[in-house]
Amino acid sequence: MIAFDSVSKTYTSLFRPPVRAVEEFTLTIGRGEIMGLAGPNGAGKSTLISLLLGYLPPTTGRVTIADSAPRPYIERHGIGYLSELITLNPQWTLEGALERLAVLAGLPATTARERVEAVIDELGIGEHRGKKLKALSKGNLQRLGLAQALLRNEEVLILDEPTHGLDPVWTQRFRDLVQRLRSPERTMLIASHNLDELERLCDRVAIIDRGRLQRVVDTRGAASRDVAASYHLTVAAGSELVADAFPAARSIGDGRFEIEGGDAAALNRRLADFLARGGQITALIPAHSGLEAQFREAVRSSGEPSRAE
């Protein structure tokens, strides 16, 4: 459905040296798939999304949506898009903004009003409908951004930092919403710094750094996996015994240690050994998810800090 084929993007300027934001990026996202996009600040995520929307041309390579160049596809079908920054006219009212965007989304007049009301209800922004956008909080603006992306049942949804500014309740509601939106006909790309969120929501996560695709992690079923890559172990007694039971343990202070996970049997054996030696455990909490471990490794191996977004 979405394909990046050896895409590179270099920003050029008269007075500054060229900046390579994306280099030889190749990725295919299948119809019905939810793909995550993770990377440190300046890794090239926003550039990739601008390329996908046809707002930027690739320097080399090709970006396609349903085998079509981005702009022709979008001008025919439209896509649901939530930008990282809600760049809408601050003088517009919330309801007015949705009504305008419903017209631009091509909704028939008979259903536009209905859909506007539906997304206002769904995102819980009814009480702010008459407010100007400049008067909305970051969280409410974000909910407006989500609402306008859902005005029409688009086949392609691109969400850039969708939970940025949302409180925990709405973050969870957003996750439920994404699960409801999952459909064999709908392709979604979610860019986020929140690896836990990507791991829960996405089928695969592409990790990029310094404009290059570092790896693609299959996260299907990640939420139901039992064993994390590492744990934080808190002990009430037997701190001195931890190193015997867990040779790779690292003290992080106050009776807390980071220990290896990964293998359930080995983990349980070591915990039993520690308890048998007289140790007492008060907490065992996953420290890093599988995706986070992969992310750290991918970013570490890609070298020094990245240069451009």
């Binding site: 929307l53 707002y55 702009r71 079908h77 930008s83 006219n89 631009l104 091509g106 306008q148």
Partner: protein
């Protein structure tokens, strides 16, 4: 599922934007420029015969519109495209099934019609408060200035953030080059006379139109050609050139 935007339905929103974003500056300019004329015309009836008064009133209104239409067009066209680009509004607007050139072509038309209505309102105010004449032909001045100068402004707005500065620079540069290389003195002058935008003749042609006098057709066509070429080039740029930078 293919379902393009109903751009005609968006006309009402673009008209609203014209009023909200450009209404205040237009109102201020119209008030400042029209008020002295209205005060002058109020006393005209006492000082002259009705026929002389009507002639003087029409003359004054044409002179007013020769300046007013220029300023109106600058306000009406400024940032028509560049404002959305600079502020990033395009990111949400054009994720919808919208043709970017069509959207801005419609905005160009809406702003032009808005300026004609503004001019109508000024004429109405003069009729009601100053002197009861209604030289509707001055609306042609606004249309001509919008089509010629506005077309160039649209073109610059697709290229750069400071479109009004570029318009001013083009105007100024053309004036300077014409002064340095007069058309009747050298071959370079004659070439420049053809190439440069003939905006130095805009006022004269517009006044001729407003008075119902025959305007020089070559200059009129040349003025319109510059404006329409600017509009078409701008639309082509919007079709070919991505909005992000």
């Amino acid at each position: 599922m293919m379902r393009r935007a109903r751009m005609w339905s968006y006309l009402a929103w673009q008209s609203r934007d014209f009023v909200v974003e450009r209404g205040a500056p237009l109102l201020i300019v119209a008030t400042l420029m029209t008020f002295p004329i209205i005060m002058t015309l109020r006393d005209l009836g006492d000082a002259a015969s009705p026929m002389q008064a009507a002639i003087s009133a029409r003359y004054g209104i044409v002179q007013l519109f020769a300046e007013f239409s220029l300023i109106c067009v600058l306000i009406g066209i400024n940032g028509v495209v560049s404002s959305d680009r600079v502020k990033g509004y395009y990111r949400f607007l054009f994720a919808k099934p919208v043709s970017i050139p069509r959207y801005y072509a419609q905005a160009y038309v809406v702003n032009g019609v808005g300026l004609v209505f503004t001019a109508l309102a000024v004429l109405g105010a003069i009729y009601a408060l100053g002197y009861p004449v209604f030289p509707a032909r001055v609306l042609l001045m606004v249309v001509l200035v919008y089509l010629s100068l506005g077309g160039l402004g649209f073109f610059y707005s697709t290229l750069a953030r400071f479109d009004w500065v570029l318009m001013g620079a083009t105007w100024g540069l053309a004036q300077v080059l014409r002064a340095v290389y007069p058309a009747h003195e050298s071959r370079a002058g004659r070439v420049l006379d053809v190439i440069l935008p003939p905006f130095h003749q805009l006022r004269e042609v517009a006044v001729q139109l407003a008075r119902g006098e025959p305007a020089e057709s070559r200059t009129l066509v040349w003025l319109l050609a510059w404006g329409i070429s600017g509009l078409v080039l701008g639309l082509l740029i919007l079709r070919r050139r991505p909005l992000a930078t």
